[in-house]
Symmetry: C2
Subunit: 339 residues, 2 copies
DNA sequence: GGTTAGCACTCTCGATGTTAGAGTGCTAAC
DNA sequence: GTTAGCACTCTAACATCGAGAGTGCTAACC
């Protein structure tokens, strides 16, 4: 892609201006607003070339140009300068995580979504640390009456899953205790994702006379795995409505109903092929879902220790302030890693 | 309000037709579509009267009439006929609750919101059984290491609240156990809303050397109270977008951002002065929040035993299918009560 | 007196026409 | 290779117009 340095400059100017103004940018605008020292006519020639190469397009014959998705991609990969956040913004981030330091993880996630959406003015998506990756700590059964009991599953990261289960009246409390302590012995210290169906059927064999009762227990375990993976927290879903590209109610509808479908969202955030600094940018049609083909998604993953534990992303129009968004994500991930 | 029976008939026709068609209804339409046996001219006269009395209004001089909020109120209170649901709809409701019978309460709530919004095509709001009203079952502390522990609060309805707390290293495990069992003894069987600040300070006095540590425990208790009361589950938030009255993006924005604010929503559903069958209808400006002054809210409460435990509501345009919505709510509440 | 037919009037909505402005592409000069 | 000039194109905004729907009023009718 050997773009001449002048073409790069012009492309950069177009993208920058369009991101800021949300309006097709013409040759005159560039020559006035950016110190390229070129006349509109020259710029026009280069813009015509850039259009032919697929980086720009004209909404109609006599309008300015707007970047294509290819244009944004080139901008993100090659032209974009890294942004600096204002001190006040850095402080804001810092405060949130200092103030909320000792809260449980769901709280942290919620605060993160809010923070992220309010800083970026786009929609934020956060997937928390996965139960999957944390180690099994304890399983406990707490009887209510002689039919129902509360089943608790505790992970060493402080996660708790709970479920009301039914158990056979024939089961004596001594027997129950033996089963529970047996399960605890077998599961001790395992990370949850080791709890495969193989292990489960092994356990089931060992405890075969209580199958029905245990079934519910295992169901909970399996469910927590599946469910946990999919739970996406959203923030600032309305922010995206103030973007001029969403003047159309149909698009809004499509997007909002996507927001109601956790499974799809989880998919959207999944498999980020790490780019620079572990941040991935997906522009328009690079996203698989049709509803967001006019949107861009900036995704970061954060780690505790070595494992990737969470994903955090920002969804905005393709005309997104990429560099700023990336800077904000980096800051936030930094703070999250410390917890 | 002595409306002549003919005027009632006409008012009813206007409301019914407008609810179905979403278009101002004229005198000709009424005389054709409804068998009142009157000429348009007569109807016009009565409509002019109804307008003067404040039940109808004209969007502009030469359009048909639409009901005012006063008109809807009169319709709901006096004219509306109770609707019957289709068998298939009743079945749908039945199936959901049979299939999900044994699930935990959060699941039930989620399924209810979905069911309700899909049946009505409006937005559904559900507040679950309040932790407040359930009885304290057990408090448990599970140490992770010598600084942090997991605090579990279990209610007899199967609710679990959990929090990671920090505790002083100086605290021996024997002492910890004594404290926990002391708290359990004191709290046994109390409903959570009895756990007032008076009781807390009493407990605090008794255990004054461990104040700092316990502080976090009590904070959790108090938080669960407050938080729990506010948690509103939403369903079908996008449904409302397909209503013609929300063609305006600004209204949509206002409404959707309201949906993000749980506290406001909880307030909206609060203090329903029970009407017929425990169902309350709030039309337009009868709602306190500005964002929903062009919406109507139909609220039902459901009970387990004697206490009111939950609230369930439907938010739609003032031009809502009141009778149908009420019928659906009644059905669902019936099923909920059985659980 | 209540009801109806007739008619002139009003207002909206969509289609059509017009204009100003922005931006282009091309050509010719620098 | 760059620039100035100019004719051309397209959109967005505004005004104009006619059709259609529905009204209010008046006068006739039962």
């Amino acid at each position: 892609m050997g773009l001449s340095s002048r073409k790069k400059e012009i492309l950069q100017a177009v993208v920058t201006d369009y991101i800021k103004m949300a309006q097709p940018v013409g040759s005159r605008t560039i020559s006035r607003r950016y110190q390229v020292g070129l006349s509109p006519a020259t710029i026009r020639n280069d813009m015509a070339d850039l259009e032919e190469m697929g980086y720009l397009l004209q909404p109609h014959t006599s309008a300015g140009r707007i970047p294509t998705q290819k244009g944004y991609r080139y901008y993100v990969d090659e032209l974009m300068e890294t942004a600096d956040l204002e001190e006040s913004e850095k402080d804001k981030i810092k405060q949130v995580y200092e103030f909320e330091k000792m809260r449980e993880s769901e709280e942290i996630i919620k605060y993160t979504t809010n923070l992220l959406s309010s800083l970026t003015n786009y929609t934020s998506l956060v997937i928390g640390p996965q139960l999957k990756k944390s180690a099994f700590k304890k399983l406990q059964i707490m009887p209510f009456d002689n039919q129902r009991a509360l089943l608790l599953l505790v992970a060493d990261t402080g996660f708790v899953k709970n479920k009301v289960i039914h158990y056979p009246q024939t089961l004596s409390s001594g027997e129950l205790n033996r089963i529970v302590s047996y399960l605890n012995r077998r599961l001790e210290g395992l990370t949850i994702d080791k709890l495969t169906s193989r292990l489960i059927s092994e356990l089931r064999r060992d405890l075969y006379h209580h199958i029905k009762f245990l079934e519910e227990t295992f169901t909970l375990l399996e469910e927590s795995l599946a469910e946990d993976e999919r739970r996406v927290f959203l923030g600032g879903t309305t922010n995206i409505l103030s973007q001029p590209e969403f003047g159309d109610l149909e698009k809004v509808r499509a997007l909002l109903s996507l927001f109601e479908q956790n499974a799809l969202l989880a998919n959207l955030l999944a498999r980020p092929v790490a780019g620079i600094d572990g941040i991935t940018v997906r522009i328009g049609r690079e996203n698989m879902l049709e509803e967001v083909q006019e949107c861009s998604l900036v995704i970061a993953t954060y780690c505790l220790g070595k494992e990737v534990v969470g994903t955090i992303g920002v969804l905005g129009p393709t005309r997104m302030e990429y560099s700023r968004t990336i800077a904000i994500l980096e800051q936030i991930v930094n703070h999250l890693q410390k917890i």
